[in-house]
Symmetry: C2
Subunit: 349 residues, 2 copies
């Protein structure tokens, strides 16, 4: 027999467009998309080029998934909870209030069954999703007045959207939908009483500390929100296998890299904010307890009407309980000790 001739290696030139949900000014979260594009180009010796467009350049930031679904762009950098209006199931990928922290969310997505469940769900939208970034626990927002108990939250107008807004409504807050650029003037005028954004590094750029000095933590509706890359499924399937691998590997690396970058940049930002008068405050415990109960009540309500949501919720709730059980042993105990006991403890006694 004669050996079949080797098939020529194919490294076709591919050009994609990526629509980002973020403005260039949010360099860390917008930068995640650029990171993916740069790494994909490097991995393919420059053959697979992705051009990144900021929010509004091709489509508005909140319509990135629609553009990917329609094939207007081949891929998009976005956050899944922007699309909870279509289906609340979208919230699981990024963050559910009182959900998993960043590392736990990665564990669930990559090895706890999360990603396969979500990919099945995304097929309806002709999209394949890749975790591609994280901010870590966000901050709980800027308040014009101090909150001493759950009572002080009643009737408060707060800029907060999506499922988090529905949780807040259940504990007496009046949630407001406002675009990023409208928050500062509304806080300044007192049209709203509070607003949440991201964390120290991003919040500082918008200057909220100048008009609402109480800076609350933690952002209990975003314990470790995953930033996503969405690809149009048909376009992704057309790629050569090693280009698919390049995209997937670049997203995973971006996931790790964005978190590391935020963790470093937030350090100096929180110091500067406090230096400029921001007053750090923990949410009162009764607010946290009421909000957590409200969140899980809401999940059960949604699950009754939405069997797809219910199926993922069951998996996610079990995982959350299980990983908390393990976290209470080594991980939390270690963090707890080093954060509460400065070096030199013995000598000080």
């Amino acid at each position: 027999a004669i050996a079949a001739p080797a098939i020529a290696q194919t490294n076709p030139e591919v050009k994609w467009r990526m629509a980002s949900s973020f403005p260039k000014s949010l360099d860390t979260i917008y930068g995640g998309g650029e990171f993916v594009a740069k790494r994909v180009a490097e991995l393919t010796d420059g053959k697979f080029q992705i051009r990144v467009f900021a929010a509004g350049e091709i489509v508005p930031g909140l319509q990135v998934m629609d553009a990917v679904q329609a094939g207007t762009v081949e891929c998009g950098a976005t956050v899944s909870y922007y699309y909870v209006g279509k289906d609340p199931t979208f919230a699981f990928e990024a963050a559910m209030p009182f959900g998993l922290n960043a590392r736990q969310n990665n564990a669930w997505l990559y090895h706890g069954g999360g990603l396969p469940l979500l990919r099945e769900f995304y097929k309806k939208y002709n999209v394949i999703n890749f975790p591609a970034g994280n901010t870590g626990v966000q901050m709980g927002g800027w308040f014009r007045k101090e909150i001493k108990s759950l009572k002080d939250m009643q009737g408060l107008k707060m800029r907060i959207a999506g499922i988090a807004g529905r949780v807040m409504a259940k504990i007496g807050v009046v949630p407001q939908q406002l675009a990023g650029g409208d928050i500062y003037p509304s806080l300044e005028k007192g049209t709203i009483d509070a607003a949440e954004w991201v964390g120290p590094y991003d919040d500082e750029k918008l200057g909220f500390h100048k008009v609402a000095k109480y800076y609350y933590y933690p952002g209990f509706w975003e314990g470790g929100p995953t930033i996503s890359q969405y690809c149009n499924l048909d376009q992704f399937n057309k790629l050569p296998k090693h280009y698919q691998s390049a995209f997937e590997a670049a997203c995973a690396e971006a996931n790790l890299d964005m978190q590391a970058k935020y963790d470093v940049l937030n350090i100096d930002a929180i110091k500067r904010l406090v230096g400029q008068g921001a007053q750090l405050r923990a949410y009162p415990k009764d607010v946290m307890i009421a909000a957590q109960d409200a969140a899980f009540e809401l999940y059960d309500e949604i699950a009754k009407e939405n069997p797809g949501f219910a199926a993922i919720l069951a998996n996610w709730k079990k995982f959350r309980e299980d990983i908390h059980l393990w976290w209470r042993v080594a991980e939390f105990n270690y963090d707890s000790f080093v954060l509460s006991n400065p070096v030199g403890g013995k000598k000080k006694k």
Copy 2:
């Protein structure tokens, strides 16, 4: 002028060998090397092939770096603290007792200045290092008898090596060096009183709970040990740029993936161990305080004799303080709340 002809794209066939410090039975940590090899092959359309060898197949597990340095193998999967006998500076990459947790270590390495400092240090060994895995906080080891205070640690023979062993010696423990396979019989006979290994998933395989039932946490000498890939610098420099990128991206992805895998696998392992009689115990606080002080005293002693170590220590200590400051705000507060307050707290009142 005539345009220069385009240089033909080069995708040469490259074959490397990777020596692992781990046996195949430790499928998670050994699997990190296989993950890198598989992903590099996928990213290069099968042109760059790396064959992985378990500890002992080419060189013993603790001599992987030497083999990489000498060029016996092109790369190796290992942990930096195996080489503290050559220079204690090696410890920074993996873990210093009472050091950074996994996410904080990534922040330091990728964006806090850690990796550039360490790469300069590794040049002396003709090696370039890549973070390529993490176990998370390890467990504090198996004890035949319960430890109620620092007094009970005095004279205890414990299997623990490297800088952690030196810290333990300072608080009265007699550290013992034993290979993995010798731990079980030594614990059974009572030749040693205690032994540390990794965490639930790996420890379970060696069956320590059958001969030493007290299982302590946290492993304060490994708050989030980074597993490394080392490449021979000459060999790495000879690779085409996109193969270098493939290796680097695969390592970053392995770093994220191994942690996610451990976080999931440890859940059921700790349940099974407790079901089989393991008694979970937190280290008494006086042990933790004395050990932390001993660790930082040791670092200062080493720094006096080793200017290279001293330079990295200064950077690392400042980063540790800074990131703890930020961690105490949103991240720790969030974990602390969700771990201590089960859903339904309001109703229970």
